[in-house]
Symmetry: D2
């Protein structure tokens, strides 16, 4: 029996004391203004209570972590059809590169890079009447608690500075891999990135992946096989150009965002979220990576 | 308690009956002449007896699977130093591409692509007095049985047709990432690819990765952390440009070779090897992938 | 003394009889509807009368040929400053590739590929109060005759289908190499592509490059050095991914457009325009290339 | 009538006084030891005497300039067949890049980049009994004087350090675009690079391209059309990744080498060679470029 309480608190105390390296994301004012000393952690075993520490209840911008909810929703609604328009292989290139997309004729390598997430957004836009509301309801249901909201200022700022995403969206459109208007796809994509959640909520929501596709209310959202597939995807593609290093140091499927959040899962065991805004050069939270590396090493609880 | 006996035999019988698609590797005569109907399977639980089926005791050319033994040996001898000369990220490109290598200035993305394996060979050549003998002894020790040998005709054929590997080796040399003579590095690399093993032996040898770094004789070869790292590497990079798909369909760290072999591991649970020569377009055994997909689905025993 | 009359008419008759190969551009209805049998030719010696044949007075969509007028206008207005934002090297890639642009951080290789022309449009937009009118006046002045107009339906169609250009423009914007709004740059760029001219007018306008920068009214538009530079640019970059082949077969600086026009110049000797809508796979007029190859071979009048 | 004497001497005196920037090639000792102050110049009008200045009679390593002699010899012997195995388009990439070669399946973009020159060497090796002797005789005949020789120490040094060329040769071999043994192709290629010539000889030899394919002894070596084609090739591809800039600043077809030599031609007018060892970052002689730019500007004698 793992003594999660003592492991979580010892890891938290140790990492908290380390000097912050890394840089807070600064491409929009809503992110650059965040206090770099914020640090929160929340572990949710598949049975038993959540164990939280630090700023675990403070909401922050989840950014790319939202890609997981979008692809899970798309699979739940459309099934395996989505894989005709987006792949499952790691990208092996910085996350917003257009080169590979050109080489592979407009089929993004996977749904966790920006190009792939735009395709997923397009799929949801086509399929749903009120996609924004359905998306918020979906994430809220996974958290099993208060309503999840977006920060409209973040969505607006992203739109104003998102030239690379706009370029990518038009590029996908030129390959006929977007059905909707580019502006509508971008609008919905930036909406998703702007949701705000706490470590407690993120950790709770990833019970979906720890429990084989079952939501907090006991309802099946994904099949066992679909859940396994998303876990595999997070393992190989969840950390931009650092997925291999994350697998190697931490050994858990997961997803990071430039807001400084990382959420990960040990299928059948636990889910965990950590938040610390300063990022390394690859765009992943420095203390987030440290925390998860220490925690899996001390507990011996990784998938490898 | 998993009923491995019945699962293995039911999967074996089912896959055996499927029509062979795929193409046997034909770039050297020693591979193109193999009977495409050969099919063997061997599962080794961490405790209990091996469960084998079909041609599990017939030796075949392991080819790229040997890259795992080479990198394990390099880590066992040199530790984390090797990561200065080779990375741990998936390559996102066909396995013998030079493009990425040029872009990243001669540091191969990981030790499981050809370029990375050449660097590992160079490291072993520099460090060892009799690298070929040490390599054979190392693999033999992992199998805990009869002496592992190479097929010299295979090594010779590879050398005669290996223009792309020669090109890559000279390219690495031009970036100062090979210390030894190119011809010596290639000679040792082709030697490794030419070892012959049975499914039983492959499966046995991967107990190293199932048991946290302990050899059959109880000796520790790799630390727990190093073992975890190699498992993570196999997970993200073990299947050429199909690693994501393998993770997604099978969910086990592993390595394939163009001889038609695949060996995989569920850390803490079991190791498994399968052999069927016909390959899909990405270079992985068609029936090998089918076998492992069915087996992990029926047993529910994957890491995701 | 070259007998231009007899050479022009013999080349015209010979090429006219050849069976049309190639495909008329079909990405917008205004181009796909053109009669593929149209064929016109007009040669303008630096002294003496124009020699025309066939449909030399029929206006057609000049498309990318307009890039020459834009860059000439930009140099005339801003001088060598423009070379800080766009290069002078051949691109070595299909004309709308984003790869090189990414590799070279948003500085297009030259002003005759689409990315470079977007930067030139941006420069003109910033500098001019009424850029569209100034552009039309500039081209009109070079032709020394009736007012040059655009086809608004062409400009509109381009805008509706121009996803790749939009992608490129946002990409340039992401590298801070566009000062104006992307939509404004695209609007002006598509406007330029939509001007309609006859072979007679095109041939006349290129006297600028034959006469060292002097306009029909005797006014100096470009310095001798600037003219030499634009001629060099057309030589190395004027024919998409076929510039080398054009230099090799024809041996004149020039520029082609997907409307089927080609205009070329022998500095100090003559300018020439030819029009035939069917294009080869590289996007250049099949009969246009034939015509110029024959004409330079028979007259011995090329720069090489 | 151009006053070449006064132009040549005024340009020579002016450039001689400028401070040397640039770096002498240092990848082999035979080049790095050259006195950076060496500076020679020789102009050969198609009729009249050679006009030389400075170190015009001192021999130096012509390096890549030899590629022109090789392709001229290949065309003279084999005609247009050679264009099945090598292209005529500019490369748009640094001169020893493997990327484009991979993308274009082993067909080098043109014979003036290293990959293309290796293919030309292979063609000559297959066709000639004593290729080295024939090559030396061919260059000697073009110079119309003393026997041209190689520096064997240079050839040997190139071979020892030429890992990138070896890589490229094996890569071409892997695409079946070399018929001979890689080592033999490399040996002949390095032999060609090691010939030594003076500015006077280089300038004389390029009369071939000024006079439409006629050798000094009045014999036709190339047809008028073949000569035109090689001139076009030099124009678009002769200066590595700086061909556009050279066309733009100088406006003559030509070829440079890392020994610091540049040789150029104005078809029907004159040929010219210049030598100064320090190179700019693109690998072209700094003073060589200055010299030719000044000379064509002052004389008004460029092709544009």
């Amino acid at each position: 029996m793992i003594q999660w309480n003592s492991i979580v608190s010892s890891v938290f105390e140790e990492v908290k004391l380390t000097v912050s390296t890394g840089q807070v994301a600064d491409y929009i004012p809503q992110l650059s203004g965040i206090d770099p000393e914020k640090y929160g952690l929340c572990l949710t075993p598949i049975s038993g209570d959540q164990i939280c520490a630090g700023d675990a209840d403070e909401k922050f911008s989840v950014q790319s972590i939202s890609k997981i909810y979008a692809v899970a929703l798309a699979i739940a609604l459309k099934g395996e059809d989505i894989w005709k328009r987006v792949g499952v292989e790691p990208s092996g290139n910085p996350f917003n590169s257009l080169v590979q997309l050109e080489y592979e004729k407009g089929i993004p390598r996977n749904p966790l890079i920006n190009a792939g997430a735009l395709v997923i957004s397009d799929i949801l836009l086509t399929y749903l009447k009120d996609p924004k509301q359905v998306f918020l309801n979906f994430v809220t249901a996974l958290c099993g608690g208060d309503k999840i909201q977006i920060n409209p200022a973040v969505a607006e700022s992203e739109k104003l500075s998102g030239f690379k995403n706009a370029s990518m969206a038009f590029f996908l459109k030129s390959f006929n891999n977007l059905d909707n208007e580019v502006q509508d796809v971008l609008d919905f994509y930036f909406f998703q990135c702007a949701i705000e959640m706490s470590c407690r909520e993120l950790s709770q929501s990833f019970q979906l992946f720890a429990k084989g596709g079952i939501a907090p209310d006991g309802k099946r959202i994904l099949t066992v096989s679909q859940t396994k597939r998303l876990n595999a995807l997070m393992q190989t593609c969840g950390f931009y150009d650092e997925s291999g290093d994350f697998a190697y140091r931490v050994g858990l499927p997961g997803k990071s965002g430039v807001g400084g959040g990382i959420v990960a899962v040990h299928p059948g065991q636990y889910s965990i979220a950590v938040w610390s805004p300063p990022l390394n050069k690859k765009g992943n939270s420095v203390k987030g990576m440290q925390t998860l590396e220490l925690l899996t090493t001390r507990s011996g609880m990784s998938i490898f």
